[in-house]
């Protein structure tokens, strides 16, 4: 059975609909602050891309385009699994909810596995600015700048993935404890919003880091 305390409407709210609406708006406002966090980095990338177009294209040409495309597909599938988890929660189907949460987590871990394999290959290839970087030619330092943006932006994204997997694990635990029902499942919806947002960020990261140099490989 669902926890009666969780089903109850807290005293500052008039009814469950208003309570849910408040949570949803609060989460969207948080996601907008995340848009501004990543937005600053995207803007910085745009400025440096304009200053050093050739170096950034050469840097992009060194990315493993196939790995990036596969990772995009993996993350889109995990978002689909998360959407189906929300759908199951709305219908009160707890076993299906748990199943889709597990699938979302597994696909999230697969994404991180591929991502860190890529980082490792970059490292072996002397493409880790500040630790192990070697590049020849006149564009060497702008290619290094490309990699600085690459590590900071994909690294911050990977950090968000870890947080998301942690949140999904808590959801899975609470599903097992029977906290969610067709009437009360706001945490599932809110975590879903976060997970889809992180997916959206990757869609743009794939577009700016992997695609521009793909034809030069």
């Amino acid at each position: 059975m669902a926890d009666p305390l969780e089903l109850a409407v807290r005293e500052q709210f008039q009814n469950p609909v208003q309570q849910r609406e408040t949570s949803m708006v609060g989460m969207w406002v948080f996601l907008i602050t995340e848009v501004m966090l990543f937005g600053g980095l995207f803007t910085g990338f745009a400025v440096y891309r304009m200053e050093y177009p050739l170096g950034f294209d050469l840097g992009s040409a060194q990315m493993d385009f196939k790995m990036g495309a596969i990772n995009t597909a993996v993350l889109i599938c995990s978002s689909f699994a998360m959407a189906l988890a929300v759908n199951s929660a709305e219908r009160g189907r707890k076993l299906r909810l748990a199943g889709f949460l597990v699938l979302t987590i597994v696909l999230g871990l697969l994404f991180l596995g591929i991502k860190f394999d890529e980082y490792y290959l970059h490292f072996l290839d002397h493409k880790a600015p500040g630790i192990n970087f070697y590049q020849s030619g006149p564009q060497a330092s702008s290619i290094e700048m490309f990699y600085v943006f690459y590590y900071i932006m994909t690294g911050l994204h990977a950090l968000h993935m870890f947080v998301g997997i942690g949140l999904l694990s808590v959801l899975l635990l609470r599903t097992g404890l029977g906290s969610f029902s067709a009437e009360y499942h706001t945490p599932v919806e809110i975590t879903g919003l976060y997970w889809h947002f992180v997916d959206t960020v990757w869609v743009f990261l794939f577009a700016i880091f992997y695609i521009p140099g793909a034809h030069m490989r």
């Binding site: 759908n87 709305e90 959206t200 869609v203 695609i211 793909a214």
Partner: protein, 99 residues
């Protein structure tokens, strides 16, 4: 609230559209279009992001307040990037040293 917000059919179509657009953007990326490689990549990413926000994140079905918050976020990001690039793109247009 026992009725799901979005049907599994809609989710499936959204998912297939997202995978299709990923394939499309990858194939276009293999052509040499100059600067338009980046431009088309960002446009397709924008379409994918809208699909995720409207259907996976239910923005299409949420209250007006949520949609205003989303629109506000997009608007503020556009202000951030357009004013910054408005500065960098127009440097050197006027014949003053250091401008």
């Amino acid at each position: 609230m026992s009725q799901p917000t979005v049907s599994i059919k809609t989710y499936t179509f959204t998912w297939l559209a997202l995978l299709g657009l990923t394939l499309l953007t990858s194939l276009i990326g293999l052509l040499d279009l100059g600067l338009f490689n980046l431009v088309t990549a960002i446009v397709i990413a924008g379409i994918k992001a809208s699909l995720i926000a409207f259907f996976f994140m239910h923005a299409f079905y949420e209250s007006k307040l949520v949609r205003v918050v989303l629109a506000g976020g997009v608007l503020w990001f556009l202000i951030l990037i357009s004013l910054t690039l408005g500065d960098y793109l127009t440097r050197g247009l006027l014949p003053f040293p250091g401008k």
